[in-house]
Amino acid sequence: MSSKQNIDDSPIDFAEEIIHDYKNSKDEGVLKCVQCGMCTSTCPAARHSDYNPRDIIERVLDGDKSILNDDLLWNCFYCYTCHSVCPVGNSVCEVNQILKQIAISNEIGYDKLYEYMGFADSYFTAAIGAIPEIFFEDIKKDVPGWWEFRQNLGEIRDELELTPPLMPSKEVIDEVSKILTITGFKEKIEKIRSSQEVSQ
C-alpha cells in the first residue's frame, strides 16, 4: 500500500491536539517516540491480542485519524506499564485515553459505552461508584456465592461495625449531581442514552 503526503498536509496536528488535552501529563512525550517498541514488549493486550501501543503512536504521528474508529483501541487495560517504562517519556496509556475521549466527543464509539451507563447512573443519582447491574447476571454465573454474599452485605458490614453508612446523604447526592450537570456530564450521558435508544 502506498500513500502520499501532500504539501498542505499537517499530520503533526493530531499529536498537537493530544498534547494539549488536559489528560496529557507527558508534555511533548508523544513527539519524542522513536518506535522502540518497549511499550508493546510489556503490554498485556499486545501479548494476547492485536493491540499494539507502538503502532498507535506511529499512527498518531502520521495524523491517521482512522485510529479513532479502530476497535483495537478499546483493548487497552489501562495498566500503565507502558507509561511507567517508556524510555522517551511518552505514555501510550494516556494517549489511548485521550484518543477515546476524542472519539466520544466526535460521537464515535458511543456503543462502547452503553454497557457502562450504569456507572454514570449510580454516580449521578446516588453519588456512588458501583458495578453496573447489567453485569450482575454474568457475575452470578461466573462467581459462585457472590449474589448470596451481596444479599448479606448489610449484615456483614454491621458485623464489621463499619460506619458511616454505605449510601451518601441527600445533600451530598444533590451537590454531586449538580457538579455533574455543570461539567456537561449529564448532557453527554443523555446524548449517549438517546443514541442507544435509536440503535435498539
Binding site: V34, Q35, C36, G37, M38, T40, S41, T42, C43, A46, R47, N52, R54, D55, S84, V85, C86, P87, V88, G89
Partner: protein
Amino acid sequence: MRDDLKVGVFLCECGGNISDVIDLDRVREELDVEFVGQFENLCSLNGRKIIRDAIFDHDLDRVVVAACSPISHEKTFQDYVKPLNPYLMDMANIREQCSWVHDDSKKATNKAITLINASIEKVKQSDAVDPIYCQTPDEVAIIGGGIAGMNAALSLARQGTKVTIIEQSPSIGGHMAKIGKVFSPVKIAEECGMCLLNPILNELVWNNNIEVLTNAKVIEAERRAGTYNLIVEQSPRYVDIEKCIACGKCAQVCEVEVPDDWNDGLSTRKAIYRPFGQSYPESYVIDMENCTKCGECFRECNMKAIKLRGKNERIPLQVGSIIVATGHKLFDMNKRPEYGYTRYDDVITQSELGRITGVNGPTKGKLLKSNGEVPKRVVMIQCVGSRDEKPDGHKYCSKICCTVALKNANIIKHKNPDTDVVVCYTDVRTPGMFEKYYKHTQENEVRFIRGRPGEVVKKGDSFIVRTEDTLKGEFIEIEADMVVLSTAMEPSDGTIEIAEILNIGTTEDGFIKESHPKIKPVTTDVQGVFVCGTAQDPKDITESIMQATASASKVSEYNYGGVEIEPFIAEIDKEKCNLCGDCIQRCKYKAMSIQNDEIYIDPMACTGCGKCLIGCAHKAITVNGNIDEKITATIKGVLSKKQPDERTILVFLDNIGYTAADNIGVNRLSYPESIHIIKVISVNRVRPKHIKYALENGADGVFIGEFPGDLMYDEVERKVQRVKKTLEELNEDPERIAFSKVYIPYFTGLARKLIDFDKQIQELNEAES
C-alpha cells in the same frame, strides 16, 4: 588634574575610507587638544614614527587614534604609542562605526567629532597599568590512570613535563586492561587490547618524568594563580613494591577467596593478589577488608616484602595544571530488575562478556555459561540505562554500546559459529567507518531484531526475552540461554568526587563539563584544570586518547607560553574586607576563594566583570583601570557638545556586540547618526548610575546588548529590568532603555534593532515635546 593632561589626536584618512565621508579639516578645527595630526595610513609602519615623534615633540600624556575599529588595530597602536603605556591610548572608531555607516557628510563629521571627544574624555581617565603575566609551574597532576590519563601523562612527559598520575586502584590500566579485545573499523578485525595497552604502560613506567601513585586519591585542593596545592591520600599496599618480585607465592598460601572485581566477580582471587598479569606497580597488594591477618603470606615471602601494618599517608603535591581523567563506571543493573541480572547467572553485561571471552579471563577465553556449557543462543539487549528518561536512567546515548555489542557478537561468532547471536536494538549507531564493521557483523550471521525488550524471565533451563519485533509489528518471545546487557556508561564515583573537590562544573548527568562543547572541548570552567576521557562524556578508546593528547597540549600552552592577563581585574582591600564571602558566592568565574584567612582573587580567572562589587558591604573590592570613571567620562564626552535638536543614543556593547556592530559597517549597512556605540570590557560594568547619568545629561536613549552565551547574561538582563523599574518610579519613561541579545553573525538584526530603537526614541521625544 586630569584635565591638564596633554592629549594628542591622530586622525587617519584610511586611504579615503574615512576622509571621503568625514570632513577631517573641520574635525581638526573643532578639537581642543594639545596636538592634532592627520595621516593617510596611520597603521602603516610609518605610523609608529609619526606617533612617537609627536609624543616626544609635544610631550603628550595621552593619545587618541581616530581611525578604524580597535578590533582591527588596537594592538598595533598600543605598540605604536611606546614609550607611553599601552593603556594610555584609546581609539575612536570613525570608520566601521561612522564613515562606513553614514552617507551624510555633515552629520558623519559631527558624529566623528563626538566620538573623538568621547575618547579624549575617556583617555584622560586612563592610568598606566601593566599586563599581568602568569607563569604556571610546569608540574602536572593527572587524576586517573586509565587509557586517557596514561596517554596524557606520556604526551606531557615526552615534552619534558613532570607528571604525577594519581590512581585510586592498586594498578594503572583502567577499563582497557580488562576489555579483552578491541577492534578497528578500518581493519575489520579484533585485536588483543592488552597487547596494545602494554607498550604504553611500559613506556610510562620507564619514563623518568612520570611518577605513579596508586591506591591514592586527591582529598584536598587549593588554587592560587596557576598553582594548585593538592593533598593526596595514599592507602597502604601492605606489600613493599621495592621488594616484591611478584612471584605469587603469597597468594598461593592465602586461604581467603573473594570475588575478583577485575573479572567482574566472575572468578575469585585471594586477599593478597595482583590485580592482573600486567598490572603496575608490578607488585602484590593486600585487600585488608578481607584479610584475616593469618600471617601465612608473611611467612611465605622470601623477599620480606609484606608488612601487615600500615596507615594512610598524606602526600602534598604542588602542580601548575591538573588533568582530570577519572573515567566512568557502568550502570547498576539493580535499577532495571526486569532484565533479571541480579537473579540469573547467565544474564550478564557486555563488560562481563568481555572478561569471559578474554583469554586472561575466568574461562580462559572460552564462551561458557555458568554451568560450563556453550550457549546456543545469546541475546544482546541494547540501551540498558541509556536513552532512558525514567528514574535512574540516562537520557544520553552511551555511544560505544552499539559497537561493543558488534565486537562481542563477532568474537562469539569466531569462537562458536553455531551459537546464534541476536542483537535487540532501537537504532544501530555506527557512524563513519564503523558502518563497515556493522556490515561485517551481518556477514558473520549475527541477527538484528529492532525492538527494545521489556523483560527477561527464566522458563525452565532457558530465558525468554520478551520484545516487540517493531519491523514486523509483532510481540515475540525469544528463547535464549545467555542474555547480554549493553549497560550505560555513567560518571565514575571518582569523577563526581573530584568535581566537588576541584569545584569544577558538571553536566546534568554528572560528567565533567567542558567550558565550551564546540571550541573548548578539553578545558573546564576552572582555570588550569583540563579533562579527558570518559570523565567528560561517553566515548571510545580512540576518542579518549585524542582528548588526552589535546589536554596535554593545552597544558603545554600554559607551561611554555605562560598566560598574559588583561590587567583590569578585581583587587581586594584587606583592611576593609571582613571575609563575609559574598563575593565568592557571586563570582560566576570561580575567581574568589578564602586562603590563609584572606580573600584571594585568582587573576587567571577574574574577568573584571565587577559583579563582586555589588555585594561588598565594606567596599573592599575595586576593579583596576578606573573602569567606572572611564565609562562616565565617555558618556560625558559624547554628550558634552550635544545640540538641542540632536538625538543621542548610547549603545553599550562588549567585545562580541562591538564586533557585530563593526560588521554593520564592514557590510556597508547603515543606522542613524544618533547611535553612539561605547565599548566596555563587560556589559555588566555599565552600572545603573551610568545609565542615570546618561539620561540626566542629555542622552535620549540607552541600548545595552549582550551575547546570550555570556555567563553574565541573565545578570545583566535582570539589572536592566531593575533600572527600568527605578526609572518608572522616578516618572521617567523606561522605554528609553533597551536590552537586546547580540550575535556576531546577526549584525543585520542589530542594525535593525538600532534603527527601530532610534525610531522609538524619536516618537517618545515627539510625544513629550
